[in-house]
Symmetry: C2
Subunit: 339 residues, 2 copies
């Protein structure tokens, strides 16, 4: 249509250099703002860059000089969650400020999916990767070691990370909520979660939760983990299931706020009073809960901060600057009036 299209990607550095009457190397130096050129030369080069609409070829740059790739791979459980979306948003925003490009992937809590994503991504020689899986396959660990590439594990706090870990203390979140619910006089306590593949961090929160109950000599009377994505729908039906099996239940701790909201609506649809007939607690501090007539008892988490810290830590590791191995992103139990 537009006639013979010029070579894809337009002009090259050599053309810019020639037009400016300098060598490729000098032009390269100007564009990377390295030293070794006069201000007149810089102006001349930049003028030609502008005139020719030169777009540098990062592929060539990353390829040519080993170790200089500015690609970063990020693999999250799923892209449809507002919490992971927020983390991803924050990571992408921070990384792009530092000049890195984000390549994404979703693993749905499947360690195998994470590994195959990793294999594909490593072919791009990324400067680093950010993982969120709870467990990694032996293959994943081996590859990462072999490539000796910076890795930031996010979401869960990992006290013995592969490299760097930035996350929430899910165990403590669960423990704290367990104590809180006990403190409000509940004793027939259930847990309702959902996992699409292998268990994710919800399981860690459950462990903390269970520990809190055990420390008080209480047992969790029911645990229902649906094979599904966590969400409103799963919360609704998980609640139905668990209550139909055990009518004594007086309180439920949910995988997250979406499930808690789903459960809340189930309970209300059955005419139960909250928290008198049944108490409900979530996790995540999601926006949806903020508009409910009830103030949902939950744990609010700092996803933006987590994403920013993770991205910054990764950049620091890439630049071989000192970084803390383990960074905690804060969480806070928000007592509402549903427990």
């Amino acid at each position: 249509m537009t006639g013979t299209s010029p070579r894809r990607g337009g002009s090259t550095l050599a053309e810019v250099a020639k037009a400016a009457g300098v060598s490729k190397m000098t032009a390269s130096r100007v564009l990377r703002d390295a030293s070794g050129f006069s201000s007149e030369t810089r102006d001349r080069v930049l003028r030609e860059v502008e005139r020719l609409g030169y777009v540098p070829n990062r592929l060539a740059a990353a390829f040519g000089s080993d170790q200089t790739s500015t690609l970063v791979g990020v693999c999250v459980p799923r892209l449809t969650s507002s919490l992971f979306g927020s983390v991803l948003d924050s990571i992408d925003h921070t990384l792009s400020k530092f000049g890195y490009q984000t390549m994404i992937g979703a693993h749905e809590q499947s360690p195998q999916a994470e590994e195959s994503w990793l294999r594909a991504i490593l072919a791009w020689r990324p400067a680093g990767v950010i993982l969120s899986g709870r467990k990694h396959t032996p293959g994943t660990v081996e590859i990462l070691r072999a490539q000796s590439i910076p890795v930031v594990e996010i979401w869960n706090l990992n006290t013995s990370p592969l490299d760097v870990s930035v996350g929430f203390n899910h165990f403590d979140c669960g423990y704290e909520m367990g104590r809180f619910m006990l403190g409000r006089g509940h004793s027939n306590i259930a847990y309702v979660g959902a996992e699409s593949n292998a268990a994710g961090m919800g399981e860690v929160r459950y462990q903390g939760f269970e520990n809190a109950l055990a420390d008080a000599g209480v047992e969790c009377v029911a645990k229902e983990v649906l094979v599904d994505r966590p969400g409103f729908y799963a919360g609704f039906y998980g609640t139905e299931t668990v209550l139909s099996r055990n009518a004594e239940i007086d309180s439920i701790y949910y995988h997250d706020d979406t499930m808690a909201v789903g459960g809340l609506f189930y309970c209300k649809s059955k005419g139960m009073r909250i928290p008198d007939d049944i108490a409900i607690a979530g996790w995540g501090g999601m926006e949806v809960a903020s508009v409910l007539p009830e103030r949902l008892t939950t744990t609010s988490v700092t996803t933006q901060a987590l994403g920013k810290s993770a991205a910054e830590a990764l950049v620091a590791r890439i630049r071989e600057e000192p970084v803390e191995d383990v960074l905690v992103a804060s969480t806070r139990l928000v007592p509402g009036n549903t427990v």
Copy 2:
């Protein structure tokens, strides 16, 4: 720590070839499954690939042979929306099946942000890009033309696309809902939306909506568009604002379901009956609405299908296979009991 790390990225094709006793080119052919080698040679090469843990360098491949990059850039308004998350998920999933890598970006409905993202991404010589902005800057359009790169515009149906458009007919969604609400006897109808920067597709839906009312000789009595991200919170407060200014309002059309749910809770908190005192309609068919005691009147949309179609269309364009210029993703008005 781990001693002198070997060259980043491990072994090269040359090493594999040497170990297998063939030339680089033959090894390359085997790995790309091209023709021109015997089955014994293939086995020998693949054995060495396995033994050496060879990871191909896609950077080199993409760089070396012009036109063969398998990178695709995707820029969505934001990553925290379940709808865009679902589209992105579907795009990423489909693209990776075809061997492409997704590089993301978020523009928050700012055409400038989209342009600067595009400039950055083009430096990677992507095989194609997927855009979702309603408007593009002149610069964006010019760059795309100059690079003659396949582009798929998603989300809105664009009858005169830059290249290919895959989207929903937002205008019709609005029009249809307008007629539906009128048909239920409402006449003091308001609209509540939110836009973080420039107007997005919500504005297109509003235009369709307004047209439906106008065709029936009715005027939209109030339009409140918050400068904020669409969400539960914005829906709640937007409703408060619009109702405080006009007590006559008997029905509200919202930017999307999250805002509608926010509005629903505001109305219920004020003791209003739905739909008798006030009718509520959303857009998107989001999961959150499925667990409400009320069945929200909304337009359900096929985000997965949209993402898949967009990815497939882009791949087809890259491969220079014939593609429809304009592909419609389906939407369906779901009458609930909130209107």
